[in-house]
């Protein structure tokens, strides 16, 4: 299992780069993870989404999909793609240190 070092702390990732243990995540790690994903600066709307992802994960055990994010996070799907161009649900989940959102079947 790959180990990454964010904000001076070693964390365990899965093969796709998602946190194995979301409790290892701290806010200080987010900018570093984001840079590795090609997002140079985390703006206020980025944080709004990241915090929303964390809350959703804590409450429901999985991060939301893009469509649910667009309906509930206060940020539209279009803006979500501007913030996280490689796919909002997956990128924001990585930066927020939560597992890959369970896709639907």
């Amino acid at each position: 299992m790959p180990i990454a070092n964010y904000a001076g702390t070693a964390v365990t990732l899965n093969d796709e780069g998602f946190f194995e243990d979301p409790s290892q995540w701290t806010e200080a790690m987010a900018p570093e993870i984001a840079r590795a994903q090609g997002v140079d600066e985390l703006t206020e709307p980025h944080w709004q989404v990241i915090k929303f992802m964390r809350t959703e994960y804590t409450e429901k055990g999985t991060g939301p999909t893009v469509r649910v994010l667009g309906k509930t996070s206060g940020v539209s799907v279009k803006e979500l793609y501007q913030l996280f161009p490689k796919g909002p649900a997956k990128m924001a989940a990585k930066i927020a240190g939560i597992p890959k959102p369970r896709g639907c079947i």
């Binding site: 939301p64 999909t65 893009v66 469509r67 649910v68 309906k71 509930t72 799907v77 279009k78 979500l80 793609y81 161009p85 490689k86 796919g87 369970r102 896709g103 639907c104 079947i105």
Partner: protein, 415 residues
Amino acid sequence: MVTKRIVILGGGTGGTLSANRLRRVYPKEEAEIVVVDQNDDHVYQPGLLFVPFGLAHPEEIVRSRRHQLHNDIEFRQVPVDRVDVGGDCVHLEDGTVLDYDVLVIATGSILVEEETEGLTGPGWMEKVFTFYDVAGAAGLHNALEAFDGGRVVVNVVDMPIKCPVAPLEFCFLADWFFQQVGIREHVELTYVTPLDGAFTKPVASQRLAGLLEEKGVALVTEFNTGEVDGPGGRLVSYDQREVGFDLAVVVPLHGGASYVGRSPGLGDELGFVLVDEHTLQSAAKPNIFAIGDAAGIPTSKAGSVTHFEGEVLVENIRRFLTNEPLDGSFDGHTNCFIETGFGKALLIDFNYDTEPLPGHFPTSVGLPLLKESRLNHLGKLMFQPLYWHSLLPGRDLPGVGSAMPVRGKDIEAAR
């Protein structure tokens, strides 16, 4: 004994088979069973796939909802306004308030075309179609008859959708259809999906991607459709990629029935009803259950799932009414025939824990799994009369149990 009232919202596959099964469990004096639906058209939804290719006609796949219900089940044809979860009653649009002891939500999913920019704009029902409803499937039939070549795209906007294999089947049948009419070499077929492969589950995804390739269907993955531009003939993704078309077959976004959104506490953001994935009991209130596409559980939205849920649902309603612990045995069992054209089909069988694997169903001497065969095609055809005459009346299908059979599957293939 005091007569209980069981109200079932939705007279489709789940509502009908639940009502009929419940009627057998409870004599009339023990339970009043009421089914509510906004119309009297019960569509055999697997038949919609065949309509565009002239292999089925709309009038063959629609019957009266009322007539599929056993005697002594009341049918009310009226839209639902909302469910009062705390008050144990349903408000109907005609002003009636129906109290219940147990409520079953079986209103399936609806298409929300308007959530995708441009989808129902210029070009809709001219060069942009869906085959997920009767009118769309019939319109697409006319368009395919008139089509003389060009780019055909089959696009899934986002999951969840009913019958996730249907758009793939559409591609396979389109390949067959254009060969039959002799214009296959003039048609460019492309399957455009938001998933990272042809299907959700790894072994089946690989097999189905292989079939697309064999049939000359191009595959575009991780495409999240943001806009359908009918006049310009383009699908545009949120990340600004484009796929051009002369004819687009789009599977629109799905949601739960609209009254779910008007019933606080009942559903999730998309209007699907939150229930336990093994007991089908609502998280909001113990006297509410959901079955079929209406349920927000991690299964495919497919008739087979609804059928397999029926047994557990009815048993759990009985247990709930006698204060017994519920039966948590629903395992997510799903069973789908996948038409591949030229009189053949594939069969997949899976549940929450086991992905679709090769082998045979239901035992080692049964139908071949994940492999094209004529037998599977015959199975798919045979299913239609079984649907009306065995499944809806709530009879068990011989040899096909609620729980997924492990015997016959090549479990090693998953490793």
